[in-house]
């Protein structure tokens, strides 16, 4: 569509508790593209997702991030969400006593309010939610239960995918969505995410293993080691990594 990329990260440095984790990340994701970030444990993958979404405790010490041409780092956590940045969590959090439906409705209406659109009432919302829930294999029962409370790993990820479907984000960040999923659950979730691909939506798929990329085939693959992107390529890079591991890059990062 436009020449402005969805996301442009320049020289991003960030620390947590005074320890520098991101040491100058550069990355551009054009609108409509799916990029994958792979890397060993402790390379800064999750930190990158939290810095982009504005989690407390992650301090940016340098660089800039532009999202749809706007300064992303100047926005509050909830503003980023309302502007269409969505993080699919590695471990979705339990919120006892808050029903799945209520949480979804509150979120959807918060975003609508932000954009000056009228809020949905319970009836309108349920109609919308039921249709999407069915597509993603989220049962009515799950919607009535408390958010993520007592959900299996697969249920949590499906519920997260349902949130994404309802919030209709422009930039989806998937933080090791494959953790805690068996092969079948992984396929269902990944296929659900892949259906959300579109010319107006970009995705950043953060993963340890390449198997999720069999379902969500990325346009570009980047390797994050030691807080820097050390290598970029197309999907063949992911397969290569599966065989060779990250050891070859460890030297590069130092």
């Amino acid at each position: 569509m436009s020449a402005t990329p969805m996301l442009e990260i320049k020289g991003l440095r960030a620390e947590i508790d005074g320890k520098e984790i991101l040491k100058g990340v550069d990355l551009v994701i054009p609108t409509g593209e799916v990029h994958a970030i792979m890397g060993p444990n402790g390379s800064g993958k999750s930190t990158l997702s939290y810095v982009l979404t504005g989690r407390e405790g992650y301090e940016v010490t340098g660089g800039e991030v532009t999202y749809k041409g706007k300064d992303l780092l100047a926005m509050k956590t909830e503003e980023r969400a309302c502007e269409g940045v969505f993080l699919a969590f590695q471990y979705p959090v339990e919120i006892p006593g808050v029903t799945g439906v209520n949480f979804l409705k509150t979120a959807v209406n918060a975003v609508r309010r932000y954009h000056g659109r009228p809020e949905l009432d319970a009836m309108q919302f349920m109609k919308l939610a039921r249709a999407k829930a069915k597509e993603l294999g989220v049962s009515e029962d799950m919607l009535k239960r408390a958010v993520n409370t007592g959900f299996s790993g697969g249920e949590k990820k499906r519920y997260d995918a349902l949130q994404a479907a309802l919030l209709d984000p422009s930039l989806m960040i998937l933080d090791e969505t494959d953790s805690g999923l068996d092969v079948d659950a992984l396929r269902i979730v990944a296929e659900g995410v892949d259906r959300m691909r579109g010319p107006e939506r970009s995705m950043l798929v953060i993963t340890h293993y390449q198997r999720i990329l069999d379902y969500i085939v990325p346009d570009r693959v980047h390797v994050l080691v030691g807080g820097r992107i050390v290598e970029s390529g197309d999907q063949t890079l992911a397969r290569e990594l599966e065989k060779t591991g990250y050891a070859q890059f460890q030297g590069k990062a130092a």
């Binding site: 989690r55 969400a81 969590f89 919120i95 949480f103 979120a107 918060a110 408390a146």
Partner: protein, 482 residues
Amino acid sequence: MTSDMDQVKALTDRKYEYGFVTDIESEFAPKGLNEDIIRFISAKKNEPDWMLEWRLKAYQTWLTMEDPQHWAKLNYPEIDYQDAFYYAAPKKKDGPKSLDEVDPKLLETYEKLGVPLLERARLAGVAVDAVFDSVSVATTYKGKLEELGIIFMSMSEAVQKHPELVRKYLGSVVPYSDNFFATLNSAVFTDGSFVYIPKGVRCPMELSTYFRINEAKTGQFERTLIIADEGSYVSYLEGCTAPMRDENQLHAAVVELVALDNAEIKYSTVQNWYPGDENGKGGIYNFVTKRGACRGKNSRISWTQVETGSAITWKYPSCILQGDDSVGEFFSVAITNNYQQADTGTKMIHIGKNTRSRIVSKGISAGHANNTYRGLVRFLPKAANARNHTQCDSLLIGDQCGAHTTPYIESRNSSAAVEHEATTSRISEDQLFYAMQRGLNQEEAVALIVNGFCREVLQNLPMEFAVEAQKLLAISLEGSVG
């Protein structure tokens, strides 16, 4: 002003005796507490002798009692009971003349709660008849209730119109000698509500103090008595989610419930009195005695309370489970923020066979507040197969507040069973981030999590009340995070 002072002086110089009410013009009793003041109150209300005697006995007992400060986890300066007025007729002219004169902060709160415009004026203490007339609503209800033989009126009116019922039941659950504040209330109570549901009648609507709010203001020493005769049912709502304007710092109310065979009483409260400012200045002291007697077989009493207001809350709505197979329930949410203090809980006294009780208490502390659950479960020797289940959860917001749980369990029957569960948790950063990443701001996120925490209790409130209560929880915690 001077005429008021003259009247006060005139009154202090006089001796009051029962029956001189006709020659008293004054709307005030002078400051202080003594037998004369009690005689004055009783005379003002044209009460029968037995009522006055009861008040005087209470007063004499009160003189020998001590403030409960020593055992409750509360801190407050000594109260000078001689430095207070115990009787003032409602003075409408004292209130603001219109909403323009009302504190904008208060109006902002009404706005957030979605209180209807006309309602706001009443709550803010604007002379009501000048603004609108809700009497018609009240009368419609009264007609319907009368048809069913339900008595719902002010305590003062009940003393006049149904003295036999009042005399039989008043003090039968909370005796005049019960405790410091209840005893004080017995001596000086000015008004309150009286409800009687006849045998076999199911009250078709929620009874609420709202419907008789235009009658004389009940003041700081409120007295409520509800009697559910055999096989009857009533749900009663007390209070209001919107903050009420009130100049009285000390409130000491008494509520007595009596459920006869197969009767059920549900009593719901939302208390949102002025909690004081963010530095702990001002605020209402709320010392309440609420107790229900499940006197009949298979009777049931449920207390549901949402306590968000007052600087100090001292309150233990209790059930005396006398009748075999009777059931007592207590569902409570108590929120304390800033410098608020709450010492609240319940007492379940199992006397009859197969009696059951359930306690669900949710305490939330933020700011520098202290929140204590204090609950007693007692099984007497005849309470064979009695059961209690207690669940006590505390939620902390921030690191300057405190949550305390003090359960007392006494069993004198070996077949009785008691279960007690308690948890303390914090709103986690994980939960907040998760909700905020979905578009909620921090306050919305806290409100959502807190409402989830309180769900078991809130779902016991009548529907509309529950919706209001949810909004109230959010408002009470504004500014408590970050």
